[in-house]
Symmetry: C3
């Protein structure tokens, strides 16, 4: 895994997303959360296909905090099994410095 990652997840609404995001940032597990509202999700659920309104949340963090951040996210998330997907990212020097400092 690269030194930094994005953690992509979804929430049922902005309020829950903001509450959990604030806790992860305050805990120094992530540097920031980008909450994108108004997402429409179409997904397989058992034998059927369901739809729902959600928000996307993209967390930015060092890879070394990935497990701890995912664990806290799962503990705080309203879903029993939220989507947790990591994407490798290569930040520029200033972004990397900020990500380290924000989660130091």
């Amino acid at each position: 895994m690269s030194e930094f990652v994005f953690l992509y997840t979804t929430f049922p609404g902005e309020a829950a997303a903001a509450r959990v995001a604030r806790e992860l940032v305050e805990a120094g597990l992530v540097a920031c959360a980008n909450i994108i509202p108004g997402m429409r999700s179409i997904y397989r659920y058992g034998d059927g296909v369901e739809e729902g309104q959600e928000v996307v949340v993209i967390f930015k963090l060092p890879a070394k905090a990935a497990e701890a951040a995912a664990g806290r996210l799962r503990a705080l998330h309203p879903y029993e099994t939220p989507v947790v997907a990591f994407l490798h990212v290569a930040p520029d020097a200033a972004t990397a410095a900020w990500l380290r400092e924000a989660t130091g």
Copy 2:
């Protein structure tokens, strides 16, 4: 390619995106589609620069279904050559299990 990927594409509108997304989920080619409305695209088109309103769609799927999902997407998409871009993702165990089951 990692075991799982996101497929990033764009559509001219939410209705077309939802129709195609539902078909790919029902076919078991993708586990889900996240449709993000209200995107403004600024892009090179021939010698000029164009703008347009679109929606972003992020599909989540196993890499082994990538070619089949992309082929079906291109066949159903209203654009002649839609953007099809895969991103490697590393899901947590519960997300990986769901992605496998939803496209089993």
Copy 3:
């Protein structure tokens, strides 16, 4: 780095994002910009946690233009140190051909 990347950044508003995006597309540094409005950012700032309304911008470009595009973005961006994060992408053949042609 793969042949193509997404550059993920954020702007304080859509107008500034569109202005800078248009300049990067016109300069042939990126093939396109996807501007996603209405994003709520929660982030570490010094000892505190701040919130703000932003827009997400996802630029699509060849990796060989990454440094030049990031440099121009930083020069034009209203923030002193904007987030600049690259993600590896694997486009399909038609998307790859367009990305090369648009930034040729």
